[in-house]
């Protein structure tokens, strides 16, 4: 009797300590798979996290960054599918992970990846040339209504976040634009500064330089509240002075692009929990705050159920736009 209780007690301690040690940690170097080419927004996102992990020693294993940006990032997600269950591959993307399979026939579905965390939200704004005759977003929409389909609206890529937003504006306001796709946000910003297009919906960071120089101006931001206070950027106007689009009469409460981290499907809960923890620690460092401020994004850490419902909302509302535009892949 006594013997058994000792054995039981021993077994219990063993189990307990096993429970404490069950916290999984990477056993090999971890690959950061970036769903964009080198130098893009997603690339900067991943490399910033890489540098923070190194500076704060958040992981024992080293980190290798690989760019797999082909097919609007699909290359990275197909790679995740091919490495199902491998906890040493983190995939960095945006909302493209769950939106791409809706518009093009892809060799993966969003089921092939597990969301780890979202660390920031990138805002979208309507930008026009500084000397454009539109005082606010309402005037711009009116001008588009007056001459349907003739105002060239530039954006990055086709059937991607930018064109979706322009289509959403069209659906909500009844205005019609001429959408012109370019390769990336930087290019679209310069095309606007040069007056080759009339407007774009760039992220703050992509147009910051041109706004500082006074070549272009923001009309409104697609967010439910104004952006954070900042130093004045041009004249006496800073990010916080830009009205939201809802204030300006465009009935879109929020349209934001999450910066997301994923794992291949089939990893265990401990493995997922490890990376959620690392990402949460990253999001609390001063370096991360600095990156978010420098790139004028909104820092927001989402994981677990919050993240799942965010993705669910974002996916449902965007797919509605796709359906209305007839973009959904059969």
């Amino acid at each position: 009797m006594k013997k058994t209780s000792i054995v039981l007690a021993l077994a219990a301690t063993l189990l307990l300590s096993a429970g404490a040690f069950a916290q999984w940690a990477p056993e090999r170097p971890v690959e950061f798979i970036v769903a964009s080419g080198a130098g893009g927004g997603t690339d900067n996102f991943a490399r910033t996290i890489q540098s923070i992990i190194a500076q704060h020693d958040l992981m024992d294993q080293s980190v290798v960054v690989l760019n797999k940006g082909a097919g609007s990032g699909a290359e990275a997600f197909v790679y995740a599918k091919g490495n199902a269950g491998d906890p040493h591959k983190l995939i960095f993307g945006t909302n493209n992970v769950y939106l791409l399979p809706h518009v093009a026939k892809m060799a993966y579905t969003s089921e092939d990846l597990v969301p780890v965390a979202a660390l920031a939200l990138d805002e979208f704004l309507i930008w026009v040339k500084a000397d454009a005759p539109y005082a606010d977003a309402a005037a711009f929409i009116e001008a588009a209504k007056a001459s349907p389909g003739s105002i060239p609206f530039g954006g990055s890529q086709s059937k991607d976040t930018d064109e979706t937003l322009v289509a959403l504006v069209e659906q909500k306001t009844g205005a019609e634009f001429k959408y012109v796709p370019f390769n990336g946000g930087g290019e679209v910003g310069v095309q606007l500064a040069g007056g080759h297009i009339a407007a774009n919906v760039n992220n703050p960071n992509e147009n910051l330089g041109q706004w500082q120089a006074g070549a272009i101006k923001p009309l409104c931001v697609f967010s439910d509240e104004r952006m954070a206070e900042s130093e004045p950027i041009h004249g006496d106007m800073g990010w916080h002075d830009i009205p939201t689009c809802a204030e300006s009469g465009i009935d879109i409460s929020a349209y934001q692009m999450p910066r997301t981290v994923w794992l291949p499907a089939g990893v265990s809960d401990e493995q997922l929990a490890f990376y959620v923890d690392v990402m949460e620690k990253v999001s609390q460092t001063p370096e991360w705050q600095e990156y978010v401020a420098n790139t004028s994004q909104t820092g927001r850490f989402l994981a677990g159920d919050d993240l799942a419902s965010f993705i669910d909302n974002s996916e449902t509302s965007t797919v509605e736009v796709f359906k209305a535009e007839g973009w959904t892949a059969q």
Partner: protein, 504 residues
Amino acid sequence: MGNFGLLMEGFQVAITPMHIGIMVVGVMLGLIVGVLPGLGAPNGVSLLIPLTFTMDPVSAIILLASMYWGALFGGSTTSILFNIPGEPSSVATTFDGYPMAQKGQTTRALTLAFMSAGIGALVGVVVITLLSTWAAEFALRFGAPEYFSVYFLAFCAFIGMGSSAPLKTIISLLVGLALSTVGMDTITGTLRLTFGVNELMGGVSFLVVVIGLFGIGELLMTVQDGLRFRGVTSRIDLRDVFRTIAELPRYWATLLRSSAIGTWMGITPGGPTAASFMSYGVARQWSRPGEPFGKGRPEGIVAPETADHSAGTCAMLPMLALGVPSSATAAVMMGGLMIWGLTPGPMLFATKPDFVWGLIASMYISNIVAVVLVMATVPMFAALLRIPFAIIGPVIVAICFVGAYTVSSATFDLWLVLLFGVIGYLFSKLNYPLAPLVLAMVLGHKAENAFHQSMILSDGSLGVFWSNPLVGSIMTLALILVLVPQLSRLVSKFRSRGTLRSAQ
């Protein structure tokens, strides 16, 4: 204070023992990266970026830029020695560089390439120094139709005076265009010509094709020509280096013309690869009669190298002043700028003059450092060709495959190298020119995008290409470049027929 004063302040930033040390290290790393095909400057620079996180931005950009210059120099080395371009922009250097080396004049070919590259780079930096403000504004005038016209001009300049049969040139060009359409299309957002193969989603990598066509294709040719197990018997004499340098002033016209083409393509931003092709084409068209191009003519090395480097240096300007990278490497560096907390754009010159002018000043010094370092390697590289083929042949095969794999770490690319090796061999056997194919692969997709965007903007009217003096004159110049040689060929044919008749 004028640009000159700012530059002097920049020199104060750049000339410190630490920065000179950084330049030497950067150039050396760049040389290694450039010499290995596939592992190009963009890969090298992105590998270095994590190291720069803790550095001061000026030191960081000097390191990355020096690496870029080193890689540009290194890329020409393998073009000349083994017919394998180390960098996309050194493809045009293979056309005359490789034949010259095969004739045993390796030292001359390398010296010509490096010296003209150095001159091109210095012209580029001087242009940046003098015209930074103006050039940034000029680049803003480029919309989709203007971009298309620049690519069109590059095509026309290169093809206008093709020495091969026109039909074969067209076929080669069309194969290249077809290859460039594989993968995701930016304008329509759909996948094209992938046949459900995931590996083709990202398109066919230009570098992989070039490594196959030139590297493996050339090896197959060598093997068939009867295995010569001896190396090229080249005399390695230091005096050759100086003799070649003394020879340079003779090519002043080519140097000037190519620098102008390079700076123009760097600023507009057409990019170094387009610049080197265009410059080679123009040199072939306008050089004094002499030995034919493609057989080891000096101008055929000087022209692409000068343009490549002046475009490479000038490409820094649109990146800093507008936030538009005109080369893949510039795109990676721009990512670095943002991580360091700097915003590329018109205000960078005003808000961070020490950074901008420190970089520009470092470009003078690091290019000189690069020329000195690279000239020191000439005898070593030239000696490589004396190694018997039985040893160097397998090494080249290994380099080709390793290089192709490093482009995007895909095993599929290894099969592509083999496939294009065979295609390259067949093309040479059947006298199809390879250059139009390569040019179409580099510029095809960009030209197509710009054309498609122009058509959206103009609602389908071709008139957009003559809608303002800038785009109109570039388009007209392009048409002249392609049509005049054909007309003069017709006229001379007609005349020779006439003289024949009168003789009868």
